[in-house]
Structure formats: structure tokens, C-alpha cells
């Protein structure tokens, strides 16, 4: 990683995004901790990163809103410098069978998970192109690789994110920029803790590891993909799911 690399992680108040910030900060990366609805969570992430000796700052960013994205990038550029590493982690899910699924929920899911990642990437790429170095990691899901009843929108958004990953990888792969995706399985985050106990039990039974993953286990892979050592990994879709998709 070049000296004083600067990262922006969206949806970093908690869960995988927060853990990714801490892993990056430990690797010496200056981290913008992106948050939308939970500034306290972002402050907590920042405090933890600083306690570890890292450099971090909270950054308000609603990935559904182009203006908010513009402001967030400007803020990071002004305070610490241009973003060289982007982790598109902000995610939304609202489960429900397609027959009764509302258009509003469909749009909310696609806007956050897919369009948000595109908008942030588009904003980040010019500086990466100029630097001839950059990393984008999209946090997809095992639902990108296999269907889930009740997750038509979520699954479609995450499969779309994989398509975005692969196409961007081809567009900018000749400029020292890599674009990869990670596909977490069932990880202990707020997104999965709202699931009913019987469903959680079924998830564990489907997973060869026999347990949920931790945000840190996903963050370690994200941090690797963001590093200089991962320079020949581009357009890859890396499962971090305890063997669920094996």
C-alpha cells in the first residue's frame, strides 16, 4: 500500500463495516468511517481505531444520495487527502416474498446495495486513475451466488454488485486499480440478529463451519484485498462463508 493510504468505508457504524475500518486502521490506513443513521456507532468505531493507534474520522454519507456522497468525498479529501481505497459496505435488507414485496422496499434495497456502490465507485475512480493505484472492495453476499426465498431484492442487488465488480475490474484493471467482491455468509451482525431463531438455526445447519461468522473474519479478507499484496487479485468474488457456498 502506498504511504498514508486513505480509505472510505461506507456503512461502518457497526458490523462488517466497522470491523473493516479497524482492520484497515491496524494496517496503517487512514480510515473514513462512513455512517448514515448511527453517528454514535461511527464515533465508537473511530475511538476503537484510535485506541489501536490508527487514524480515523467519522464521515456522514448516505450512499443513496449523490450530493451526500460528493460532500463525504470532499470532506475526506480536505481533511486527510484523496480516497485510494473504497469499501462499498453500506447495505440494506428487508425480507419478504416477492408476491407481496413493495416497490418501495425493492427500490430501497437496490438503491443502497447496488446503485450506492456504483455512485461511490464513480466518485472515487478519477483520483485512483490519476494515482495509478486504487482498491475497491464491494461487500456482496452469499445471496449473490445462490437464491434465497424471501430475498429476491437483496439477492438481485448483491448479484448486481458482483456484475459491477467484474465490469469495473475490466475497465480499470490496467491502471493499478483492483475491484473485488467479498461474499459473506451468515455473520453475526445486526442484519442477521433480527432473523427468527428457527431461521438462524437453519443457517447454522447449512454452514459446514457449524456456526455464524464474525465481522472480523470478513474484515480480514477485505483488508487483504485492500492491500498492495493483493495487486494481482482483480475481479474476484471471494466467499467468506464458512463453506456455505462450497
Amino acid at each position: 500500500m502506498p504511504e498514508a493510504t486513505i480509505a472510505l468505508v461506507t456503512g461502518a457504524s457497526r458490523g462488517i463495516g466497522s470491523a473493516a475500518c479497524l482492520a484497515l486502521a491496524r494496517a496503517g490506513v487512514t480510515v473514513g468511517v462512513g455512517y448514515r443513521s448511527d453517528p454514535e456507532g461511527a464515533e465508537e468505531t473511530v475511538a476503537k481505531a484510535r485506541a489501536d493507534g490508527g487514524i480515523a474520522l467519522p464521515v456522514a454519507v448516505d450512499v443513496r444520495d449523490e450530493e451526500s456522497i460528493e460532500e463525504a468525498f470532499r470532506r475526506v479529501e480536505k481533511d486527510v487527502g484523496p480516497v485510494r481505497v473504497l469499501v462499498n459496505n453500506a447495505g440494506y435488507t428487508k425480507d419478504g416474498l416477492a408476491v407481496k414485496y413493495t416497490t418501495e422496499n425493492w427500490d430501497a434495497t437496490i438503491d443502497t446495495n447496488l446503485k450506492g456502490a456504483f455512485l461511490c465507485s464513480r466518485r472515487a475512480l478519477p483520483a485512483m486513475l490519476k494515482a495509478r493505484w486504487g482498491r475497491i472492495v464491494n461487500v456482496a453476499s452469499v445471496a449473490a451466488l445462490r437464491g434465497n426465498a424471501g430475498q429476491a431484492a437483496y439477492s438481485a442487488s448483491k448479484t448486481g454488485l458482483v456484475g459491477l465488480t467484474r465490469s469495473l475490474a475490466r475497465e480499470v484493471g490496467g491502471r493499478g486499480i483492483t475491484v473485488n467482491a467479498v461474499c459473506p455468509g451468515f455473520v453475526e451482525t445486526r442484519m442477521t440478529e433480527v432473523q427468527r431463531e428457527e431461521i438462524r438455526k437453519r443457517y447454522v445447519e447449512m454452514t459446514p463451519a457449524g456456526r455464524f461468522g464474525t465481522p472480523e473474519e470478513v474484515a480480514a479478507v477485505i483488508a487483504f484485498l485492500c492491500g498492495s499484496e493483493a495487486s494481482y487479485v482483480n475481479g474476484s468474488v471471494v466467499s467468506v462463508d464458512g463453506g456455505l457456498s462450497a
Partner: protein, 81 residues
């Protein structure tokens, strides 16, 4: 406006990694300067930054030569090329 022309040509030469004397008004990006679509986008980003203008994708489409690029920037700046 030779000054503008010189500036644009310099930026194009830098971004397309070709000697400045090859960046003539009639030079075609694709055929003569071996620029692919990403090279062109990067050149446009550099021009936007240098001149503080915004060049939308649809306006880039008709630009095939260096002279046309100079003209586009001139139009954006409201000056004659």
C-alpha cells in the same frame, strides 16, 4: 487562441503518453494516437480539472480529433479556439 490550444495539447500528450509534436489538430485519438476509451476519459478528466469545466459523456462522443477537443474546451470556456 493559440495559448488554449497549446495547453490542451500539452495535457493530451501527457495523458496519452505521446510526444507533444504528434498531438496535432488533425490527429485522431483512436487511429493516430492509439488512445482507447479509458485513455480518452482520463484525458477528459484532466481537461476538466485544468479548465474547471464539466464535459458530459454525450459531448465527448463526437470528439474524434485533437482539434475537436480544443474546440470543445473553447466552447465550454466561452472563447474562440
Amino acid at each position: 487562441m493559440p495559448e488554449l490550444q497549446g495547453k490542451v495539447r500539452k495535457i493530451l500528450a501527457e495523458n496519452l503518453s505521446v510526444p507533444e509534436d504528434q498531438v496535432k489538430a488533425e490527429a485522431r485519438f483512436q487511429e493516430d494516437l492509439d488512445a482507447d476509451s479509458l485513455d480518452l476519459v482520463e484525458a477528459v478528466l484532466a481537461l476538466e480539472e485544468e479548465f474547471g469545466v464539466t464535459i458530459p459523456e454525450e459531448e465527448m462522443e463526437g470528439v474524434k480529433t485533437v482539434g475537436q477537443a480544443v474546440q470543445l474546451v473553447a466552447t465550454k470556456l466561452g472563447v474562440s479556439a
